[in-house]
């Protein structure tokens, strides 16, 4: 069985939007870890570290999430209306 690569795991825990590509990665990872204890354990460790880092980062600076939300809000939603 081919294990997940560290890059795949990092990409998995760093997903920031739902696209066909990221959903395919979610599917691949979930399919694999349901039968591979080694990768499941590594991924749990990655997620734990990622969450802990995120907690610390939140107290130091604005998180990427806030930045991303603000960026999305700046692009704004537009609505086109007929003048009739």
């Amino acid at each position: 069985m081919k294990h997940l690569t560290p890059e795949e795991m990092i990409n998995f825990i760093s997903i920031s939007e739902l696209t066909p590509e990221t959903l395919a990665l979610v599917s691949k990872v979930n399919t694999h870890i349901r039968q591979c204890d080694s990768c499941l354990t590594k991924l749990q460790a990655f997620q734990f570290i990622n969450d802990e880092l995120a907690k610390q980062t939140q107290h130091v600076e604005e998180s990427l999430l806030a930045y991303e939300l603000r960026r999305q809000s700046k692009t704004g939603q537009t609505i086109s209306l007929d003048r009739g």
Binding site: V26, N30, L40, Q47, Q58, L65, L69, I79, R83
Partner: protein, 270 residues
Amino acid sequence: MRKFSDEAFREIISELFVQKLSCSETLLAVIDEVYRKRIRSWCFTHRDVIDGGYAEDILQVIKIKIITNCTTSFFMKNGTDGGINTNPDEFASWMNTVVKNKLKDILEIHQRRNNTVRPIGDNEEFVDPLYQDSAAVDAQQEILSNAFAVVINADSDAHIVLTWIASSLFIYQYGSESCHVAGDLVEAFEAKTLYEMRDMLLRAAERLPWLTLSRHQLQKLNASLQKNFDGTRCCGEVQYREFFMKSGGKSSISNWRNRMNNLVKRAMKS
């Protein structure tokens, strides 16, 4: 209380662990069903800190958190030999905890960003957003929604209807003081045509659950904007300030707001 069925939970398990290729289709649909409305209400409750337009982004963040953590942190938390947790109530509880923590994080981030409220300390009580009185929020939105329907359905001139919508937006969304809203409106719109004003307001209204125009209401507003103003222009082409009475912009706006508010009050009483 669990907000999804046993059948939906079985389908989630099947998609994640039985099918040849794991997928999260039903899980994403369940998250939509259970949390979309709650998150919109939560954004409305915290509208002084978080723009309602973030609701969909927050929902997406939560979906990602759940589908990337459900296997590792819930279903197979104890490893491949530990068996899959198939208790739907525990899963509902786990999802609620994930959402609660994520919303708490988001609120803290926005509070720091806005620099309006200090971050929530570890020892402070945090009001669980999922178990607050969402019925009260829904009731408030329903009242606003009904008031808006009264205004838009009234046969009033377009500039008066737009004034009421703009004042409501400024007060409920942007935190204007009621006594200052007339001045805010003069500043924001006096040089805009009513068409421009309408477009700006509708863009902002997209973010508010209670301020949604139906096709019929939009047609009614457009018909009002198309009415003749001075023989050469329709009302939509005229600048907002040209509708002001001799008493001035602020006084005119206060007058129009009062007329509309009285109309709403009468409709609510009947």
